[in-house]
C-alpha cells in the first residue's frame, strides 16, 4: 500500500514536470500574442516523431545528439508556421477565431500526415537511461529521474532566457504592453514568431520525453492539448508560475484518480476541477484578466 502510493506520487511528479514544460509553452503564446494554438498537441507528436526519425539515423545513438538536432528543427518549424499562417491573420478584426481555425486545420493536416508516413501503429523510443534505484519492493527507474530533471531544467533555462537575454526581455515587454513595446522599438512581429517557435520547442521536448514512457501515436496529441490547456486555464492564462503549480496539481490528481478509480475517470475529474476553478475564480489560480 505504502509502496503503491509512493509509486503514484512519483508518477504524478514526473508527469507533472513534463506537463509543466508543455503548459508553460502554451501559456507563453497566449500571454504574449493572445493567439490560441490548436495544433499544440500535434507539435507534441511531431517532437516524438522527429526523435524517432533521428534514432533511425546510423550516427545517432544518444539523447544528447537527438536534442541537439531536434531543438533547432522545432525552432525553425515553429517560426515558419507563425510567419506563414498566424502572422497574416493578425491584422483582421476577428483574427482570434481565424487563428483557432487555421491551427485546427494544421493539426488535422499534421496528424493525418503522421498516420500516412508512420502508420497508425505505436512507435516507441529507446529509454533515456537504463536501470534504477531499488529498495525492497520500491523501484525508481533512472529514466523517470532523468525526465523529471530534464523538464525542470528546461523550465529553468526558459526562465533564465526570459529574465536575462535581450529577446527574452522583449518577449516580456510585448506580453505586458504590445503597443508600448512597439513604441520603444521592439520588433513585435519578430517577438510573436519567436515565442511561437519557443513554445513549439517546449512541447516538442515534452513529446520526446514522454514518448519514452507512453509511445507515440498519430492522434496522441489531442489528449496532451486538452491537458496542457486545462493546466493553462487552471493556473491562469499568461501566468507562468500559475501554470507550474497547476501542472503539478494536475499531474498528481491524474495519478491518484487513475490509480484509485481507473484511467477513464481522469479526464472527467480534470474537467470537474477545471469547471469548479473557473466558476469560483474565472481567471485561474494566478492569472489576471486582460
Amino acid at each position: 500500500m505504502v509502496i503503491e502510493i509512493a509509486d503514484v506520487i512519483i508518477s504524478g511528479l514526473i508527469n507533472g514536470s513534463v506537463y509543466a514544460l508543455m503548459a508553460v509553452g502554451l501559456t507563453l503564446i497566449y500571454g504574449v500574442s493572445k493567439a490560441f494554438n490548436f495544433a499544440y498537441g500535434s507539435f507534441y507528436s511531431l517532437g516524438g516523431y522527429i526523435a524517432f526519425l533521428l534514432f533511425g539515423l546510423s550516427f545517432i545513438n544518444n539523447y544528447f545528439l537527438v536534442f541537439l538536432l531536434a531543438v533547432p528543427i522545432l525552432l525553425v518549424f515553429g517560426y515558419f508556421v507563425e510567419k506563414a499562417l498566424v502572422a497574416p491573420l493578425r491584422k483582421r478584426d476577428d483574427w482570434e477565431i481565424k487563428v483557432m481555425m487555421i491551427t485546427l486545420g494544421l493539426a488535422l493536416f499534421l496528424d493525418n500526415s503522421f498516420q500516412v508516413i508512420f502508420g497508425s501503429r505505436m512507435k516507441s523510443l529507446p529509454p533515456f537511461l537504463e536501470g534504477g534505484f531499488e529498495a525492497g519492493d520500491f523501484y525508481l527507474s533512472h529514466q523517470d529521474v532523468g525526465i523529471f530533471f530534464l523538464s525542470i531544467g528546461g523550465i529553468l533555462m526558459f526562465r533564465w532566457f526570459l529574465n536575462n537575454t535581450r529577446t527574452g526581455m522583449s518577449v516580456r515587454a510585448v506580453a505586458q504592453n504590445p503597443a508600448g513595446a512597439q513604441i520603444v522599438g521592439i520588433p513585435k512581429e519578430f517577438v510573436f514568431a519567436a515565442t511561437f517557435a519557443i513554445s513549439t520547442v517546449m512541447v516538442g521536448m515534452g513529446g520526446i520525453l514522454l514518448a519514452q514512457k507512453y509511445f507515440i501515436t498519430p492522434m496522441g496529441g489531442w489528449d496532451i492539448l486538452v491537458k496542457a490547456w486545462v493546466i493553462t486555464a487552471f493556473g491562469g492564462m499568461g501566468s507562468i508560475r500559475g501554470g507550474l503549480y497547476a501542472a503539478f496539481i494536475v499531474g498528481m490528481l491524474e495519478a491518484f484518480v487513475g490509480w484509485y478509480f481507473g484511467m477513464t475517470w481522469t479526464l472527467i475529474v480534470l474537467f470537474a476541477v477545471l469547471l469548479t476553478t473557473l466558476a469560483v475564480r474565472p481567471q485561474g489560480l494566478l492569472g489576471k484578466w486582460g
Binding site: F36, L85, M101, V116, W229, F271, L275, L278, A279
Partner: protein, 323 residues
C-alpha cells in the same frame, strides 16, 4: 447583408435544393449525401449563429449533436416514444445541457470558452463508452446498432427510399433557417452585435449579456440536438466515432467556406463541403490531409468565405467600412 438579400438567397438555395430529387431521385447514394448536406447545413448554421453572430467561441457543437443523437435513440428505444417526438425531447435535453455548459461560460471570455466547450467534446467519448454510458443505454464501445426508423402517421421512412426523408429534412432545414434568420434580424441579433462590440457599454444600455448568451446557447443546442436525433433515426446506428476530429473539422470547413458570421454562407458551405468531401473519398487516407490543408489555405486566401467574396465583388460600398 440586409434581410431581403438573405431571404432571397435562402429562397434561391432551398428552391434549387428542392428540385434536385427530380434529377438524382433514382440514385440512393446521391440522395443520402443530400440528406447529410441538409443536416449539416442546420448544424453549421447553428454554430455560425453562436460563434459568428453571438461571438461565443463554442467548440461543443459536435458534442451537442452526438448527445442529441444518443438521447433520441435511447428515449425511443427505452420508453417506446415514437421517434418524431423523441427527436424534440432529445432537443430539449440537449438544450438543458447547453444551458448547463453555457452558465460557466458566461463568466469567461475568448479562449476559456473554447476550452470549456471543447472539453465537453473531449469527455463525451469516455462518458458514453464508460460505465455511466452503459448504464443509460449507449451500448458502450459497441455503440447503438438498431435505432428505430422515423415514422409519421404510420409512414415509415427507410434508407432504402430516401426521397421522402429528404423532403422531411428539407422542411426541417427551411424552418430552422427561418428561425435563425429571424433571430439574427430581430433585436436578438442587434443585441449580439452590441455585446460583441462592447459588453460594458451595451450593459449600460440595458442589454443583458446573461439573458441573450444563455438564450443563444439554449437555442443552438436545441436545434443541434434535434438534428442529431433526425440523423440517428435516419442512419439507424450510432457510435462514438462521430466524436473524432474528422467531423469536427468538416463542420469547420463548412463555416470557413461559407464565411463565419455570413449567415446563409453556412448553408452554401455545407453543400460545397460535403460534395468536396465525397469527391475526395477515393484519396483514402490522404483525404483528411487534403481537408486540413484546405482549411489552412482557405482561411488565408478566402477569410470571409464565399459570401464574403461575393459581398466584396458586388458591394458598392468603399472598402474599409464594415457593418
Amino acid at each position: 447583408m440586409d434581410h431581403r438579400r438573405i431571404t432571397f438567397l435562402l429562397a434561391l438555395i432551398w428552391t434549387i435544393v428542392a428540385v434536385l430529387p427530380l434529377f438524382f431521385g433514382g440514385t440512393n447514394f446521391i440522395m443520402h449525401i443530400l440528406i447529410m448536406c441538409l443536416i449539416w447545413s442546420v448544424v453549421a448554421s447553428c454554430w455560425d449563429l453562436i460563434m459568428g453572430f453571438a461571438g461565443i467561441f463554442s467548440f461543443g457543437q459536435v458534442a451537442f449533436f452526438v448527445m442529441g443523437a444518443y438521447a433520441s435513440a435511447i428515449i425511443s428505444a427505452q420508453f417506446g416514444i415514437p421517434p418524431i417526438f423523441a427527436v424534440f425531447i432529445a432537443g430539449g435535453i440537449t438544450a438543458a445541457i447547453g444551458i448547463l455548459v453555457g452558465l460557466p461560460c458566461l463568466k469567461l471570455k475568448g479562449a476559456y470558452i473554447a476550452l470549456v466547450t471543447f472539453a465537453v467534446h473531449m469527455i463525451l467519448e469516455p462518458v458514453l463508452k464508460g460505465d455511466i454510458g452503459r448504464a443509460i443505454g449507449t451500448g458502450g464501445t459497441r455503440g447503438l446498432l438498431t435505432i428505430e426508423p422515423m415514422t409519421i402517421f404510420g409512414y415509415t421512412f427507410t434508407t432504402a427510399s430516401p426521397v421522402p426523408y429528404f423532403y422531411l429534412m428539407l422542411l426541417v432545414a427551411v424552418i430552422c433557417s427561418v428561425i435563425i434568420l429571424v433571430v439574427i434580424k430581430s433585436h436578438w441579433g442587434t443585441a449580439f452585435l452590441a455585446l460583441k462590440d462592447s459588453q460594458e457599454f451595451s450593459a449600460c444600455l440595458g442589454v443583458s449579456a446573461f439573458k441573450y448568451k444563455l438564450m443563444v446557447f439554449a437555442l443552438t443546442s436545441f436545434l443541434t440536438g434535434m438534428m442529431g436525433g433526425f440523423y440517428a433515426h435516419y442512419v439507424g446506428m450510432l457510435s462514438t466515432r462521430m466524436l473524432g476530429i474528422d467531423l469536427f473539422v468538416t463542420l469547420m470547413v463548412i463555416l470557413v467556406i461559407g464565411g463565419v458570421g455570413k449567415f446563409p454562407g453556412a448553408v452554401i458551405g455545407a453543400f460545397i463541403t460535403i460534395a468536396i468531401n465525397e469527391l475526395l473519398s477515393p484519396l483514402g487516407p490522404y483525404r483528411p490531409i487534403t481537408m486540413g490543408a484546405m482549411v489552412v489555405i482557405l482561411v488565408l486566401v478566402l477569410p470571409d468565405g464565399i459570401v464574403g467574396l461575393f459581398e466584396r465583388l458586388f458591394s458598392k460600398k468603399p472598402h474599409g467600412i464594415t457593418h
